[in-house]
Symmetry: C2
Subunit: 313 residues, 2 copies
DNA sequence: CAAAGTCCTGAATCATATG
DNA sequence: ACATATGATTCAGGACTTT
């Protein structure tokens, strides 16, 4: 809209930050090891992915640098190693079974999230906002921790999935939603960014496909109607296997970023996975800093940026 | 559907339970004081409202009697009075400001809810389910407590309000949802009641508002699209002032009761307010036990039952 | 080439019975 | 406590295949 682009980084600007950038090494330069320095300045990490533990990485970052933080933590699904088959074709449902989603106890999970949120709070600018995703497995634990830490919740935003996996044993409602908590550091923060006209647009996008919407009805509600991450967008390996079991759709990040940041803002993601947050941020003229531990996810993220950013001359 | 009506209580049956029932005193007999006895048997309280403190009342009830429990607790909106008026009900400055929603701290709120849930768990039959409502102010605290207590969450159900109060200051998304947690006592419970065909029906109503009605029913997703409690349904005093600031719509209780109970089941509500739970349960051929402290709410509830139940001969 | 049909799969705490 | 077999059929979106 009418926000000025203050510090947009594309490859030419990016090269200034990373002076040794060249055509052959661009993929390397996107990534910086968390252990590379004692502490990182903003220019060390701007529009880069820090490879390593997120707590360690965050502790090395300056305070009050991020305009918005997006956190997609492990959900701690506790699937109990049960296997679920589709009767029709005897195929097995490929659920989340990653090591990073396993915790020994609620206490351990809570402790991890509290440590994350403590550093996140420090890294946030005074007027910054934070988004965090979850389902009923984890979102309540997170919300409770945030309230206890003084975070002030602005909204619960409901992601209503267009194409959820149906509950075909019919023992529950089909779980078609995820919840995003949107919050500021405390109740005194008033000047955070909220682009209300875009919130309206996203809220009514699906309604308007089906019927005319009266003007008075055009409010930006806290429900987003979006499909899962599938098709071309889903990152897969040579064998066609999905690289990350819970890759978020770009559309979700677009909504998060467009409603809660301005052009040129700095978006921080401490658990980046395949880098959807920074990738979308960059496409939308925002800057980013991301942290991710697993190499295979980082490599997938790199492949996205290589396509996005033209090579340096 | 095809469930037999096992122990439906209308006024004639009710008179058997309360042998001194007669035309003049029916309204009194609906209510029983929590202090009336040391302990209550099922027949003492079946289809009656216990007047008094809910913890005290629950402690006097037998174990494992309820097939389903519905809890509409205080939401604890009071942290910073300035913000409240934006978020609750139709009135602008005159939102929820009731004594029952005031707690001194998160700890006090948590403690209250934990005590409630401890008794609720005891009162639930082994295969019973429990519903509890909230917004982002309180639902996360409740969810966390429930998980810690071993409750096993089946679903988050999102009540998407047809007519939420618009956020006219445009500083947040319009908060158009409330969340209901639906749970069993622990993860081993498998034979709880879930009427999947009705879940589908309710889910379809959402769809109907946004697109042409499909030929076949959709899956039963965890989103319900319902208006707030307004109009005729809203209980008001002589001056037209609403009696309860957060009266739940009957449609919400219909969905809760129809999807998770069978005809003849016993529904328990420890914080009954104006008695919507028992009123709807009774209309749907379920039995109820309710507890409520405030006399003005109980009188409003009585007025509903007087209309519902014909006088005894 | 368009249209229609097939196949696969998704953050899922999805059941029961028999060894 | 595991592991395995059985049972009996959900849906939207997208990629792919066939007509």
């Amino acid at each position: 809209m009418d926000e000025p682009s203050t510090c947009k980084i594309k490859i030419t600007e990016y090269a200034k930050v990373c002076p040794n950038a060249n055509e052959q090494s661009i993929e390397k330069k996107l990534v910086i090891d968390v252990g590379a320095k004692e502490n990182f300045g903003l220019n060390d990490v701007l529009n880069r992915i820090m490879q390593g533990d997120c707590i360690e990485g965050m502790k090395k970052l300056p305070s009050e640098i991020a305009d918005m933080v997006f956190i997609d933590p492990p959900y701690f699904l506790q699937l109990q190693n049960k296997r679920l088959f589709r009767w029709k074709d005897h195929t097995e449902v490929n659920g989340v079974n990653d090591a990073w989603d396993k915790f020994k106890s609620f206490e351990q999970y809570d402790s991890f999230l509290k440590n994350v949120l403590t550093e996140v709070k420090r890294i946030m600018k005074p007027e910054a906002t934070v988004w965090i995703t979850g389902t009923y497995h984890n979102i309540h634990r997170i919300g409770k921790i945030m309230l206890d830490m003084g975070f002030w919740i602005l909204n619960d935003v409901i992601w209503f999935k267009k194409n959820p996996m149906p509950n075909w044993l019919r023992v529950r409602f089909t779980n078609a939603t995820e919840t995003l908590i949107w919050a500021v550091k405390n109740g005194n923060v008033k000047w955070y960014t909220f682009n209300e006209h875009l919130a309206r647009k996203f809220s009514l996008e699906f309604t308007e496909n089906f019927r005319p919407v009266p003007e008075e009805e055009k409010i930006g509600t806290n429900i987003w109607y979006l499909p899962l991450c599938t098709g071309e967008e889903r990152l897969r390996d040579e064998k066609g296997k999905k690289i990350h079991s819970t890759q978020k759709p770009e559309g979700l990040l677009e909504r998060v970023i467009l409603t809660s940041t301005k052009s040129g803002d700095l978006v921080f993601d401490p658990m980046a996975g395949t880098g959807t947050t920074g990738y979308v941020a960059s496409k939308l003229d925002r800057n980013f800093i991301m942290i991710e531990k697993e190499k295979k996810y980082i490599e997938a993220a790199e492949s996205r940026f290589v396509k996005l950013w033209p090579r340096a001359e």
